[in-house]
């Protein structure tokens, strides 16, 4: 790397594309959401209300990505069919 490189070309400062993949906030979690796929009717309310975007949509039911889930419990509280239960981590 030569010192003559201008900064705006991004050679001196490492940079990454938008959307953080390096900070995994899943380690903040105390309670983990667990989905009962038989009760899930794919209404997507949990997907709408998740502040962390941790829930993924699939064809028949949702899946919960634990990389970014902070375990706030909104999905459990809002699920109309009680398909999501919060389980303490480590159990």
């Amino acid at each position: 790397m030569s010192p003559a490189q201008p900064l705006h070309q991004g050679r001196l400062i490492p940079h990454f594309p938008g959307g953080t993949v390096r900070q995994k906030t899943g380690s903040w979690r105390i309670f983990r959401p667990v989905l009962d796929v038989e009760k899930c009717n794919n209404c997507l309310l949990c997907w709408i209300f998740c502040p962390d975007g941790a829930i993924d949509r699939e064809e028949k039911w949702v899946t919960i990505g634990l990389d970014f889930c902070k375990g706030c419990g909104i999905c459990e509280n809002e699920c109309p069919t009680d398909a999501i239960t919060m389980v303490k981590e480590g159990k």
């Binding site: 400062i13 490492p14 940079h15 990454f16 938008g18 959307g19 953080t20 993949v21 390096r22 900070q23 995994k24 906030t25 903040w28 979690r29 209404c43 997507l44 309310l45 997907w47 709408i48 209300f49 998740c50 502040p51 962390d52 975007g53 993924d56 949509r57 970014f68 902070k70 375990g71 706030c72 419990g73 909104i74 459990e76 509280n77 809002e78």
Partner: protein, 297 residues
Amino acid sequence: MSGVISVRPKDLPFDESVVGHLGCSGCGAFVAVRLALKILGDQTMLAIPACCVLATTCFYPQVPLKVPTLMTAFPATAATASGIAAGLRHLGKKKEITVVGLAGDGGTADIGIQALSGALDRGDQILYICYDNEAYMNTGVQRSGATPKGARTTTTPGGQRGMWESSPKKDLLSIVAAHGIPYAATSCISFPQDFMQKLAKAAQVEDGPSFIHVLAPCPPGWGYASEKTIELGKLAVEAGVFILREWENGEMKVTRKLRKRKPLAEYLKPQARFRHLTDEEIKAMEEEIARAWETIS
């Protein structure tokens, strides 16, 4: 932005525009930001001042937001958005890209109100979203102009002299509507369809600024368990504390009329910031709400 935007959950895009932020667990503001970016799409530019969203997203070397974001000074959100809009107009990209000013309630109702008023007066093509968590939350819950009467914050701590927040919540929508802009509305994250419909309407305004004021409950600031974020937003609307309104074509209308208001205590009791209120005080507040509803309808 053009065409009809569907707000059905199944039609919304899969892509997450904000992932990996460091907001508190159960943060209401990020529900608002996520849904807003789903409706507005990737042809959006954000101007964000010092606020919760900036304090929990913008860390070197990566930003969780996938749209171009300009971090700006606290009072300058609307002025910055105006500048971006002027630049885009010069480049002939005014119609392709939505310019969004995104600020908290302090940055809108107190510190940023002068720049906001200027931008609305000039009639710049911007969309201003104010997410309202009713205090300066990321600096440690200091009172703002949007803090409701009776709330405990760190600068209105109460105590024996009863020094709780004494002034009522600023009516931001009326202040903004008084500028005679094409579209302004209040909404709440607990009513996502309503919020997204209003956002889609605001994004499609072509001849001037538009404004959305969205209530976003805050677990650490309001003092409740993180899973109740959506529930409390719903209760705020159903108890009549926060009125969902819309200003369009020079007319103010209530978009969610309540046949019967829920008891106010149901909304206040789960929150630590209202725990000191006595039954008489709650009754007095309920009467105030009833009066507010009478004047608007």
